[in-house]
């Protein structure tokens, strides 16, 4: 069983909104100083799902792949510390500002270079641009079936059983291999790496692939190939003036709040 997991480094999505800022001239996010990028939380769940499959199958090879600059290394080490077997960093100046389609094209090329692949996993969306597109498009480019927003995944009789989250419940799908599955938060928590895992990850040799290594035509990816152009990026922090209700203790304050609510109540 060969599993490929795509992981992306992102700004910590739980950072306080007040620390988030945008450079209006360049339409780029200004990363707060001293705040390292983290593995996109849904991608961490994809690593977790791969590990669960590996444990159930009593053996599988998990390759973690990221397309990113210098920050990629830490995110790959995190995946290896959790239990991934191999780590690949894809980086090339030609890949900068790639949209979801260029990204999927490059990652699909990486799948072909890896060669053996039964299952491709990634998060339901990256916690920066919140698109939820790349996994589905990789599947289309490779001609694989896909199931998005999974909360559970298992392998039986050479097929995948995927429990998918829908707006009002769950659906269980059966799909042949190879297939692409994206993971949602309902799966639970990603494991914390063990000390041994962290030591192992620190020693891990990370493979580095460029556009030339992947045989990707640089003219077909990156900013020039983007299907949508970012016209404007601005911070959005809806705020209201909050009237704080107080009293001599919590009880009295709560009584006053009840009055307020009865005034507002439609």
């Amino acid at each position: 069983m060969d599993i490929i997991v795509f992981v992306k480094p992102v700004l910590d999505p739980d950072m306080p909104p007040a620390k988030f800022s945008v450079d209006g001239k360049t339409n780029r996010v200004i990363p707060p100083e001293g705040m390292p990028l983290v593995i996109s939380p849904y991608d961490a769940l994809a690593v977790e799902a791969a590990l669960k499959i590996k444990e159930a199958a009593k053996g599988a090879k998990i390759t973690a792949v990221t397309m990113a600059g210098p920050f990629a290394v830490e995110v790959l080490r995190k995946a290896v510390a959790m239990g991934a077997d191999e780590a690949v960093q894809i980086n090339d100046p030609a890949f900068e500002d790639s949209d979801a389609f260029s990204t999927a094209l490059i990652l699909a090329a990486a799948v072909k270079k890896i060669g053996k692949c039964d299952i491709i996993l990634c998060g339901r969306q990256a916690a920066d641009w919140d698109n939820g597109v790349v996994g589905s498009v990789i599947a289309e480019y490779l001609g694989f079936p896909s199931v998005i927003r999974a909360k559970g995944i298992s392998v039986a009789d050479g097929k995948l059983k995927v429990e998918r989250v829908i707006t009002n419940g769950f659906e269980i799908f059966e799909v042949g291999l190879p297939a692409v599955v994206t993971l949602s938060s309902e799966m639970g928590q990603a494991r914390i790496p063990t000390g041994w895992g962290i030591i192992n990850a620190a020693k891990k040799q990370i493979q580095k692939w460029s556009a030339a290594d992947l045989g990707v035509d640089a003219a077909g990816v990156g900013k020039a190939a983007a299907r949508n152009q970012l016209v404007k990026l601005y911070t959005f922090s809806p705020s209201r003036t909050c009237e704080m209700v107080t009293g001599k203790d919590e009880k009295e304050a709560a009584e006053k709040l009840a009055e307020k609510i009865m005034d507002i109540k439609p």
Binding site: P13, P17, F20, V22, A100, F101, A104, D130, N131, G132, V133, S136, V137, A139, E140, Y141, P145, S146, V147, I148, I166, T167, N168, G169, F170, E171, I172, E174, V175, S184, S185, E186, G188, Q189, A226, R227, N228, Q229, L230, V231, K232, L233, T235, F236, P238, R240, C242, E243, M244, V245, E250, K251, A253, A254, L257, A258, I261, M262, I264, P266
Partner: protein, 330 residues
């Protein structure tokens, strides 16, 4: 942008009626078509065909209906194939989905097949006449920022649109339109993903999306018992209970209660947030609430920036008092 100004709306129905999101899409498409000089085309698949006339009342000029039995909302493979074929036939400049189960799944795949532009979870789609282009605005970074995107070249633009982001038109029963049955069948051999079992959670009473009063709890409630307490309050007030992502991920409450970026988008008259810190991913789902009341132990919680009325207190002290007061009335 190409000269062809057709807009295609992918319609969805619930109990033989267009969903509120589908009505909103038709309203938005109707106004855009008037500005750009184009037509509004609605596709209804499978059981959705029942709403063809309603689609015309809400703004469609042409309604394409395909009764193919495979075209259920759970069969994204079949729906993607059908929409792909229709797009190749009518060559729209813009295709609109709701940010629904179908939209999230089919829109990216369709864009891959059609070399189209794609923006997910849009809150605004406008025509920029000066530059002859369509602009779409979408929340990014968990709702902390907004991105305005333009389509490059003459390509088709596909968007999914967030619920309640755009207004529907008033339905007009005397509006005229054309219903065009699509007879092409979906090639069953191309459907690779097979549905084995569906577990739908049927919500009793008023749905969160339609509720006038919502009492919602977050991770600060500490467990399912907290939700039992706020459910009492909700019941007394004639409201509906909602939750943030943490209680759902922790299995304290079912997924159908989740409000926010990955859950439901709500716009009640009164939203009472209890033990909710106010993460951007949650706030993005409640910004259109008329009044927001927040109860949290932490005076620095972000939710107070978003609220109209706030109380710094332990919910275990405050909520029972609210319950008593609501019981007593005035």
């Amino acid at each position: 942008m190409a000269d062809n100004r057709h807009i295609l709306v992918i319609g969805e129905v619930e109990k033989e009626k267009l969903t509120s999101t589908s009505r909103e899409l038709l309203g938005g498409a109707h106004r855009l078509a008037a500005q750009m000089g184009g037509t509004v085309n609605l596709l209804l698949m499978g059981p959705a065909v029942a709403a063809a006339e309603e689609g015309i009342h809400y703004g469609a000029d042409k309604v394409y209906t395909s009764k193919d039995a495979m075209l259920s909302e759970s069969n994204s493979d079949a729906c993607t194939i059908m929409i792909d074929a229709l797009c190749r036939k009518i060559q729209p400049v813009l295709c609109l989905f709701g940010q629904s189960d179908l939209g999230r799944d089919a829109a990216p795949r369709l864009a891959a097949k059609l070399n189209a532009g794609l923006c997910m979870d849009c809150v605004e789609v406008t025509f920029d006449a000066g530059n002859n282009r369509i602009l779409q605005t979408r929340p990014v970074f968990g709702g902390k920022a907004m991105a305005v995107m333009a389509t490059t070249g003459d390509r088709l633009q596909i968007n999914t649109v967030r619920a309640k982001a755009i207004a529907p038109e008033e339905p007009k029963a005397d509006r005229k339109g054309e219903v065009i049955p699509v007879t092409d069948a979906v090639d069953a051999s191309l459907v690779k993903v097979k549905l084995v079992e569906a577990k739908k959670i049927e919500t009793e009473g008023v749905k969160l999306e339609d509720a006038k009063i919502i009492v919602a709890g977050g991770g600060g409630l500490g467990g399912p018992e907290g939700f039992e307490m706020i459910a009492q309050l909700a019941k007394l007030m004639g409201g509906v209970v909602g939750a943030t992502r943490v209680p759902v991920d922790e299995n304290w409450v079912p997924l159908s209660m989740e409000i926010g970026q990955t859950g439901k988008i709500v716009s009640p008259d009164l939203y009472i947030a209890i033990g909710i810190s106010g993460a951007a991913q949650h706030v993005t789902g409640i910004v259109n609430s008329k009044k927001i009341v927040a109860i949290n132990r932490d005076p620095d919680a972000n939710i107070f920036r978003m609220a109209d009325v706030g109380l710094v207190a332990d919910y275990k002290v405050a909520v029972p008092i609210l319950i008593e007061k609501m019981k007593a009335g005035r």
